[in-house]
Assembly symmetry: D2
Homo-oligomer: 136 residues x 4
Amino acid sequence: MQTLKELLKNDIFAARAGVELLVVEPGYARARMEVTPEHLNAGGVCQGGALFTLADLAFAAVANSRKNLTLSLNANMTFLRAVSSGFVYADAREVYPHRRVPFIEVRLSDEKGELIAMMTSSGYRKNDALPVDGLM
Amino acid sequence: MQTLKELLKNDIFAARAGVELLVVEPGYARARMEVTPEHLNAGGVCQGGALFTLADLAFAAVANSRKNLTLSLNANMTFLRAVSSGFVYADAREVYPHRRVPFIEVRLSDEKGELIAMMTSSGYRKNDALPVDGLM
Amino acid sequence: MQTLKELLKNDIFAARAGVELLVVEPGYARARMEVTPEHLNAGGVCQGGALFTLADLAFAAVANSRKNLTLSLNANMTFLRAVSSGFVYADAREVYPHRRVPFIEVRLSDEKGELIAMMTSSGYRKNDALPVDGLM
Amino acid sequence: MQTLKELLKNDIFAARAGVELLVVEPGYARARMEVTPEHLNAGGVCQGGALFTLADLAFAAVANSRKNLTLSLNANMTFLRAVSSGFVYADAREVYPHRRVPFIEVRLSDEKGELIAMMTSSGYRKNDALPVDGLM
């Protein structure tokens, strides 16, 4: 058996985008991604999809920090500041731990701690148990 | 000068994710992405961030099909069906062409035409003119 | 036993706001509300909460047009045009009929058919059967 | 000239729903509403539109605590716990004070301090100055 952190290394898309999971605890997770030229859009700033990928991995870590496999049902993301280089951090917190439809908030901030985007997301827990043994 | 379609080829993150812009007209755009093993998450289905990247490029094409540079302010995405292979298409339509905060809907469907996700997004138009001459 | 339309007359808040359910079919509902001085906010236009109440009743009619009691889990509303008098119509459609978390779109339009607001909403179906016998 | 708090008493729909503005400071506001039988829906719990009305007034107080008239552009509300009586409090905070599209979070809680719903909302500031002289 593997830990949740090990399992989430199999998120190929997030891994290729450079997302690293730093911390996962019950109800909290932190991930980061360094913004490089490969993350930029045509306007020269980090693509929304890259920020979403980072937020989604932090969401997945929190949402699955309980026992059951949990998917993203709905994600609402507001972009506050553009970023074009440096690390972006995602702090995800379970705001409401419903057994079926948990609610999670993810705050994305830059290296100076400035908020650059915020996601709120409802998950959907399946009946399947996650094949993990521990978190980190 | 280049067309909008050419400009959007400079969206490096979307290009690396395999997103292709197929059509851009005033108020409408269509893009697609083939889901490959590189797009999958730890659950073996296409990562939400990959779908978001596809939707975001279609959004950007529609939002910028008028004259001014337009960014994504808020995006609300609901995931309906998981997909793990094949082409996904994004059809983006400008629902309301506000001069400052246009509202755009993006529907993502699979090869059989089944809806797999839906995004609604408010854009924010800057005062800057886009450096483009024509759409496609 | 009563019909769903009769049951929804017990939505006291919506009834007091003047919301009338016009049509309910499997997967579709239409409601309306006449905007009067009692619906206005301090800016002299219809309060967002009044429009939300109208949209929510149309949502409830569609969401409960299947067998199980269904609540609103998440609602995302974008306000496009202000309105200060006349009828507003809400057309609600089930975009995806998931057995647990259906996805519904509600379009609000004025008497001229102009779109004034749009809501997308994920419902949450409980296991409880609805105490209704038929829709209208 | 009147204060912002006085101006917001002209929100007829919110006033009729029993919403009271308790505090308004730059970037923060608090409002409350007592849930009575008149606020209930057909399921016997507080209608989503009533909670939205409360949240919207708190949003309006914060959004207009700067100088310019600000409307709600988009509101995303997640319902966490049903409530059928007692006071509900709305605490609204400006998360990002953009000069054109500020971003505001509103947390709704019951008398015990339990979170019952959460709204995130993007405002849209007009060029018009608000006809107010002070906040409370």
